[in-house]
């Protein structure tokens, strides 16, 4: 019998499909759909919590920012007027610039000091645990408590800071730190670097202890110096840790409140008033809740943009080792 290969196919004859990669075989991708459903089911509780406690309040805050919401009494929809006033408000703009300045001043020293402390305590030598504890202790005690302690120590004539600096001949024993812009900013920046570098140390130290020792041994064989090993091995391997510590540090600086509220109350005048304190004053002193919320939304957007930019710029290309492997 001659079989006409080009003739019409008998649709009643079942066809054998070619083998497909495992996992996509069953009924036109239904496994993938099932996996998707399972994934959605697993994340839905978390998403519901985020929706209820983050997204809905955020959306409501956006609505409030479009009104003249007072502490009590009726409110009116004002559209974008709060935002328009915001960009023409010299006090708000000053608080933004001051926050940027403060962030710029403290971020670098926190990273450098934290890195130095991490290098100092990363090895398990006798006493390293004690130093780790001592360096991390300021972060544990908390910013508010330490701000109150510093407030007392910064008092002219009675505080320890003036007493020590006076003995060393570096300052007058009656220096009024908290009521002069430059002195107050300097004192707070030094204080915050001391406070926050312990956290950076912990983040970086964890990364350093995860760097394979063989890399350093190979570098030693090649005759690398200490600095060369730090620059060529440690720092590249800590890219993610450095990114994390920088993001935490920058966001923390943008949200700074306690230290300024306790030490200077934003003064003298509004010279040391960061954004969050401006929001606080507008909301809970002036009772302009709609206007304050507009400032808060602006802050959320700015922090989001800066964080996204940092994530992008400091991203760790996870594919890089594989690509390097293929090149080999």
């Amino acid at each position: 019998m001659i079989v006409d290969e080009s003739g019409p196919r008998d649709n009643t004859v079942p066809r054998v499909r070619p083998a497909r990669p495992r996992g996509t075989l069953v009924r036109g991708g239904s496994l993938r759909a099932r996996r998707a459903r399972t994934g959605i089911a697993l994340v839905s509780p978390a998403f519901a919590l985020v929706a209820v406690f983050v997204l809905f309040p955020l959306a409501f805050a956006v609505y409030i920012s479009l009104t003249d919401w007072p502490l009590i009494g009726p409110y009116h929809f004002t559209g974008g007027r709060n935002y328009t006033e915001l960009i023409h408000d010299p006090v708000f703009l000053h608080s933004v610039l001051f926050t940027l300045l403060y962030t710029a001043i403290v971020t670098g020293p926190i990273l450098v000091l934290g890195y130095a402390m991490a290098v100092f305590v990363r090895a398990n030598w006798p006493g390293s645990v004690v130093f780790r504890t001592v360096f991390f202790l300021p972060f544990i005690v908390g910013l508010a408590t330490e701000s109150f302690m510093l407030l007392l120590e910064l008092q002219p004539d009675s505080g320890a800071i003036d007493a020590v600096l006076g003995k060393l001949g570096l300052a007058s024993s009656s220096t009024a730190w908290t009521v002069h812009y430059g002195l107050a900013l300097g004192a707070i920046c030094v204080f915050v670097v001391w406070f926050a570098s312990g956290l950076t140390m912990m983040i970086l130290m964890g990364g350093m202890q995860g760097v394979p020792g063989e890399l350093y041994e190979a570098a030693d064989v090649d005759g690398a110096t200490w600095w060369q090993k730090e620059r060529r091995i440690t720092i590249p391997m800590l890219r993610r840790n450095i990114a994390l510590s920088l993001i935490i540090s920058v966001i923390g600086s943008f949200l700074a409140f306690n230290q300024f509220f306790i030490l200077t109350e934003g003064g003298p005048g509004t010279s040391t008033e960061p954004i969050v304190m401006w929001i606080y004053q507008e909301a809970f002193v002036a009772y302009h809740l709609g206007y304050a919320t507009a400032g808060a939304i602006a802050l959320v957007i700015v922090v989001g943009i800066i964080s996204a930019a940092q994530f992008y710029l400091l991203r760790d290309d996870a594919d890089a080792p594989r690509r390097a492997g293929r090149r080999r």
């Binding site: 502490l71 009590i72 009494g73 006090v91 109150f148 407030l151 007392l152 910064l154 008092q155 002219p156 004539d157 009675s158 505080g159 009656s174 009024a176 730190w177 908290t178 009521v179 200077t264 109350e265 934003g266 003064g267 003298p268 005048g269 509004t270 008033e273 004053q281 809970f284 002193v285 002036a286 009772y287």
Partner: protein, 441 residues
């Protein structure tokens, strides 16, 4: 679900709702029917009264509530303490939610924020029936009044007085029973005490605490019959430029500063340590709160070392800042009659006379009798000043006086520390005017 099940569930829901209604505060039919001024308002009320008080009055509130509950079987008061910085927002939130307390002890300076919105019950008729109505603190009543109607009644007073150290007065050759009654005497007494040396200063003030300065400096201005703002709420104007009483007050503090009659660290004293140098016996004269020193000093020190006097004006007279709290009943309170019964019980003489021992001053000037003065000589001074007391009525007090960014502190700093009086008055006039215009718009 069949019909029978549905009916059972419905019945259960109705029973639950009824039970919940019975157990909620203010369930008394009499309480619902009574209104301020009516015969049964505040009489034999039943149920529970939810009372919110600020933590600053914790000792007083707890004692009063405890005694009230011990002596009233059908009406109970449940106390909730609210944080100092959060009390207004908590109250506003509860009012917005339609579930406010039955009575609130609100910082009197915050009363206008609520009274102008109809948030509180109008108590004018009920207050008029009180036998001691005309003796109630005028400053507290002023802050509770809006458009001629009274929405609150005084709860307790936190008054500013002039503290002085009798022993230092004696050592400096001054008469310890003759406290200063003019600015000139304050200055000369401070100069005399300052000469004692050994770390002793003639005067002290919390130089970085704008609220403390508003509390202690303004009464001297009021004693001269002058004020920093005038007019009714919504149509107020600043009266800073050309205000001679203000200039005299700022000049007194400028002299204290330039003549070094105050410790250097006064410049950075933003409140938490205010008064400690006085209690340590290092200061001759200190304007401050009655309760402030009463709480810091020991009974022995109060009996032998320290004394107080009214805060004088430049050339005499005296006044005080009528601080403290007002009672108010939210308009949506569930048990207003019970709340008023509790309030009137607190205002009775027996309860009021306990105030000095609890760090507070009563709010009825008729309590100032010889026996009261003998029992509480230091508080008697504050109570005497109460009748001459005042507190600025308006919507801008916190913005103007209680933040370092406000025009009050800016004006004080420029005048006292920088020595530029004319610029200070300009800053004050423009700053107050701007805030008043914002509040009116």
């Amino acid at each position: 679900m069949n019909r029978r099940t549905l009916a059972l569930l419905s019945a259960a829901a109705l029973l639950s709702a009824a039970a919940a209604g019975c157990s909620s505060s203010g369930s008394s039919p009499a309480a619902v029917a009574a209104s301020p001024g009516s015969a049964n308002f505040g009489v034999n009320a039943t149920g529970t009264v939810q009372f919110w008080a600020r933590t600053v009055s914790k000792t007083l509130a707890q004692k009063l509530v405890s005694e009230f509950n011990a002596t009233h079987s059908n009406l109970k008061v449940k106390l909730t303490l609210t944080s100092i910085n959060d009390d207004t927002t908590s109250l506003a939130t509860s009012i917005r939610a339609g579930d406010p307390p039955d009575v609130v002890g609100l910082n009197d300076i915050d009363m206008p924020t609520f009274t102008r919105n109809g948030s509180f019950l109008n108590l004018t008729k009920a207050i008029a029936l009180l036998p001691y109505e005309k003796y109630l603190s005028p400053g507290h009543i002023g802050l509770a009044t809006y458009n001629g109607q009274e929405y609150g009644v005084p709860y307790w007073a936190d008054l500013s007085v002039l503290w002085y150290n009798k022993q230092l007065f004696s050592q400096a050759g001054l008469n310890p029973n003759d406290p200063p009654t003019t600015y000139a005497q304050i200055l000369s007494d401070a100069q005399a005490i300052n000469k004692l040396g050994n770390g002793i200063h003639g005067f002290t003030f919390a130089g970085d605490c704008e609220g403390c300065l508003g509390f202690t400096v303004q009464p001297g201005i009021w004693a001269s019959g002058s004020y920093l703002t005038s007019g009714p709420i919504g149509n107020q104007t600043a009266t800073i430029s050309g205000n001679q009483a203000l200039v005299q007050a700022l000049t007194l503090y400028r002299d204290m500063w330039t003549e070094k009659l105050v410790p250097d660290n006064d410049r950075t004293d933003d409140g938490p340590t205010w008064g400690q140098d006085f209690v340590a016996g290092k200061i001759g004269i200190m304007p401050g709160g009655y309760g402030q020193i009463e709480n810091l000093a020991t009974p022995a020190e109060l009996a032998t070392e320290f004394a107080d006097a009214p805060l004088p004006g430049a050339d005499g007279g005296y006044s005080t800042f009528d601080g403290g709290d007002d009672f108010a009943i939210p308009a949506a309170a569930k048990n207003p009659s019970g709340a008023w019964e509790f309030i009137t019980w607190v205002l009775q003489t027996q309860q009021q006379e306990q105030y000095p021992d609890l760090g507070a001053t009563p709010i009825r000037t008729d309590l100032l009798t010889p026996s009261y003065s003998a029992a509480h000589p230091l508080d008697a001074v504050a109570l005497k000043a109460l009748g001459h007391g005042y507190a600025p009525v308006g919507l801008i007090y916190n913005q103007a006086f209680n933040v370092p960014q406000g025009p009050w502190f800016q004006m004080f700093t420029t005048a006292v520390y920088d020595g530029n009086m004319s610029l200070a008055l300009q800053q004050g006039q423009s700053g107050f005017t701007q805030l008043l215009q914002q509040a009116a718009s």
